[in-house]
Amino acid sequence: MYLEFAKVLHQTLFGSLAAMGFGVLFNISRKNLLWCGIAGGLALAVRTVGLELGGSLELASFAAALAVGAVVQMFQERIGISRNTLDVAGCIPMVPGGFAAKAILGLFALTAPVPIDPDKTLILSVEYFLRVTFTIGAIGTGLAIPSLLLRSMRSGGATPPARNPLQEPPDRA
């Protein structure tokens, strides 16, 4: 396998800058912005390596989110930022906003009085839409797994006490 290290470095640097910029928008203190940069850099490094090794965008994003979620979970107490915010700041450079815009723009193009190449436009829009959905799903799931695992480990894998269905609803709304 051939890894283009310059590309990995480039993506890591700009992923880091994007995460720090969003950290400012999220009102993270200046001393903690560095952690956002590390999380964003890590996310883009793992995703780029995944893509360079031939993985799909969704798989690479999942691996990156899993790595960020695990690292944040390990260092959260020391960092002093909420896990959720740091997860999001780190993974936000991977949110496929560009694909989402292209998917919706494609649907707009289909409603033109004389659509140009409607079959191709529709297929592309659906493809972009699916990629957005799967990528966001992959990021969310990847981030959630470390905390859900930790919660299970803290509870010792014990089964929660059975609920009385007459007294408690099965799901909280």
Binding site: H10, Q11, F14, G15, L17, A18, A19, M20, G21, F22, G23, V24, L25, F26, N27, I28, S29, R30, N32, L44, G80, I81, S82, N84, T85, D87, V88, C91, I92, P93, V95, G97, G98, A100, A101, K102, I104, L105, F108, A109, A112, I116, I136, G137, I139, G140, T141, L143, A144, L148, D171, R172, A173
Partner: protein
């Protein structure tokens, strides 16, 4: 450790319910996931003397039932616009831990919360604008925008963020604001990139509006669903879908203005 509390009567239960919901409301407005809101509201209520706590978290309101010494009250409270404010979120959680430790009395908690809301620092506006500009320009590089368009994306996103803050101050509807900001940022970015001789004008227009992409709500929607709150998760997901449509309308208008795209 929480000190044992003696409830004077229904007023005390009311205080407990409203105080716990105030914590939950602030955490919601700071962008916390529902599991955090639930955890901290329950911790505060329990520390103040509640024996059992049930919280319902909606997108725009919270409802709570607290019980103690054989009595119970149910209260509801409106949640304001949901944003992201990390330092306020941390301050609210810190206060909740102080309440749990018995450092703050019931009567003082509401005053402390007001002090936190008023006193939590924010970055200066110009710093936020520049940081967001840099973030979008970096996004642009990740999307393959060439160096000729880098400066245009940076400038357009900086101006777009400044315009967005102005619209928020004037309490313009969030969806309309998203369209207006997306139009301004994408048009400026496209125009600048074209004048600079960039070959990635379309990507530059998209990159300049990424400051509007609702990353926190989209991930919170999934957290909430995974944590057994599909109603709130679905509400967040619908909000994300609608804001994306309004952003795209702004980009589409920008493309029409510049004769780009279709």
């Amino acid at each position: 450790m929480a000190q044992p509390k003696t409830l004077a009567g229904p007023e005390s239960l009311d205080d407990i319910a409203m105080t716990a919901m105030e914590f939950g409301k602030l955490l919601m407005e700071c962008g916390a996931a529902s599991s955090i809101v639930d955890e901290y509201a329950e911790r505060v209520a329990t520390a103040l003397g509640a024996e059992s706590v049930d919280l319902r978290i909606g997108y725009a309101s919270l409802a709570i039932t607290v019980r103690a010494q054989g009595k119970g009250v149910a209260r509801m409270r409106r949640v304001g616009p949901i944003g992201v404010n990390q330092r306020l979120d941390q301050a609210v959680r810190h206060l909740a831990r102080r309440v749990e430790a018995g450092d703050v009395r019931v009567a003082e908690v509401r005053g402390e919360l007001t002090r936190i809301v008023d006193g939590t620092p924010r970055h200066p506006g110009w710093f936020i604008d520049l940081a967001v500009g840099l973030a979008c320009a970096s996004f642009g590089r990740l999307l393959g925008v060439d160096w000729l368009a880098f400066g245009s994306v940076f400038a357009a996103a900086t101006i777009g963020q400044s315009f967005r803050r102005m619209l928020i101050r004037r309490q313009v509807n969030v969806f309309i604001a998203a369209t207006l900001v997306a139009f301004l940022a994408s048009a400026l970015s496209g125009l600048g990139s074209r004048l600079a001789g960039s070959t990635t004008v379309e990507s530059a227009m998209t990159a300049a509006v990424l400051l509007l992409v609702p990353g926190v709500p989209s991930l919170n929607a999934q957290y909430d669903i995974l944590n057994g709150r599909p109603t709130l998760g679905s509400a967040r997901a619908v909000w994300v879908a609608v804001i994306l449509i309004f952003i795209t309308i702004g980009v589409w208008l920008g493309q029409m203005a510049l004769g780009e795209g279709r």
